[in-house]
């Protein structure tokens, strides 16, 4: 029987959740017996090769590209999991949510203490994804099946959750593995 596929991505996140995922250490050898990695920064596959059983999403939606990737993940993954606080509540990027886009741009490209921009030009290339009005948690954009909180969720949390899902067991995390920091 073919192994089920696993896809991962980082939207408006810091890749810390992926780093934590790598902290499963030698258990990754057991993981590759259970799954085949599909689209993911871990194997650098850029596009989906087929329907995946599980998708792990790190980070919230800060720009239109994040939304497109998230929608693709929803379409191509049977089970979609929000991994980490940014995916669940926007996290650090969401600290801009009480400022306007204009204020964010002015701080980043004109007024910030380390900015050198004598021409005063703001980035405006059509290749650049447009920023959203605020940073959205993933479950406010598409349906999310499970949430694994933490900044980042510990390797044990990710491991327990994945193994439970891949071996058809109920996902019941013990007290120590649900943490918001």
């Amino acid at each position: 029987m073919e192994k089920p596929k696993l896809a991962t991505t980082s939207l408006a996140g810091c890749f810390g959740c992926h780093m934590s995922f790598l902290d499963i250490d030698e258990r990754i050898l057991k993981l590759v017996e259970l799954v085949q990695f599909d689209k993911s920064p871990i194997d650098d596959i850029k596009e989906f090769t087929g329907q995946c059983l599980v998708g792990l999403v790190e980070g919230g939606c800060a720009n239109e590209e994040n939304v497109h990737v998230l929608q693709k993940f929803r379409k191509n993954c049977d089970i979609l999991i929000s991994v980490g606080d940014c995916a669940i509540n926007g996290g650090i990027p969401a600290m801009r949510n009480d400022l306007s886009i204009k204020e964010c741009f002015e701080e980043a490209y004109l007024n910030g203490p380390s900015v050198y921009n004598p021409s005063g030009v703001l980035p405006d290339d059509k290749e650049l994804p447009l920023l959203l009005d605020k940073v959205y948690p993933c479950h406010e954009v598409v349906k999310i099946d499970y949430h694994l909180p933490g900044c980042p969720p510990s390797a044990d949390t990710l491991w327990e959750a994945l193994v439970a899902l891949l071996t058809n067991k109920p996902l019941e995390l013990p007290y120590e593995l649900i943490k918001y920091d």
């Binding site: 929000s82 606080d85 669940i88 509540n89 926007g90 996290g91 650090i92 969401a94 600290m95 949510n97 009480d98 605020k134 948690p137 479950h139 406010e140 999310i144 499970y146 949430h147 694994l148 909180p149 900044c151 007290y175 120590e176 649900i178 943490k179 918001y180 920091d181």
Partner: protein, 237 residues
């Protein structure tokens, strides 16, 4: 003349309390934990957070304010009440800006611990991301209103224990916030870092400066044991 003990039940277990006690006080003494956020032993109960809602003879009551009576039937640990408590905690999370990942209170925060105890992985309501502010004017204490859950502990402690009336609520509904009794800033009040009002905040809204992150992750109050374990362990002794 000694007053007679009052006997009642919580989830079918017989509890004895003394006259004048609230359900919360009698339950705490008996080692039965009723979840709470605004209630704090030694402060006048405020009854505002509604986390401690229990069913008393079939009607919902706040356990922290409701006195015990002979033969009363209290339900505490039920699926319906846990769902109700989960809803309140969900709302508190989306109504504020609770960034646990960099909050000094994380691991010792009662709101976070309540969410852990109730098994919340993500709130079910949309985030509001309200505009809020920080008052760091005082040399030893700061107020971060992003994290305030309007429990009223600081108001009561400052009024009843410190006798200073440093804090009060202003505004209504979503505008409601904690204000200080001064022209503008916390530094203009006579609050001191040793005041009761500076110790009682359940979240990271009123925190002492220069003491954050002193306890390493893994050894903080709620890292290993859920909130309420201290009360429940009394029962097992």
């Amino acid at each position: 003349m000694e007053q007679k003990a009052i006997t009642f039940t919580i989830d079918g277990v017989e509890i004895k309390g003394s006259p004048g006690q609230t359900i919360m006080q009698a339950a705490d003494e008996a080692g039965v934990y009723i979840p709470r956020l605004c209630y704090l032993k030694d402060l006048t109960p405020h009854g505002s957070c509604r986390i401690c809602t229990v069913m008393v003879n079939g009607r919902s009551q706040a356990a922290c304010t409701q006195p015990i009576t002979e033969g009363m039937v209290v339900e505490n640990n039920t699926d319906a009440l846990d769902e109700h408590r989960r809803n309140i905690v969900d709302m508190l999370f989306v109504e504020g800006n609770h960034y646990c990942m960099f909050c000094e209170k994380s691991g010792n925060c009662e709101l976070q611990a309540m969410a852990y105890r109730l098994g919340i992985c993500a709130p079910k309501y949309p985030y509001l991301f309200p505009q809020s502010n920080v008052d760091a004017s005082h040399p030893d204490i700061l107020i971060d209103r992003n994290r305030c859950i309007l429990c009223g502990r600081c108001v009561i402690a400052s009024r009843d224990v410190d006798g200073k009336n440093v804090f009060e609520f202003v505004g209504r509904g979503p505008e409601k916030r904690i204000a200080v009794n001064a022209e503008a800033k916390l530094s203009d009040t006579d609050i001191d870092v040793t005041d009761k009002a500076a110790q009682v905040c359940p979240v990271g809204a009123i925190i002492k400066k220069r003491v954050g992150f002193a306890v390493p992750i893994g050894e903080r109050l709620y890292d290993k044991e859920p909130i309420g374990s201290d009360i429940e362990s009394k029962k097992n002794k």
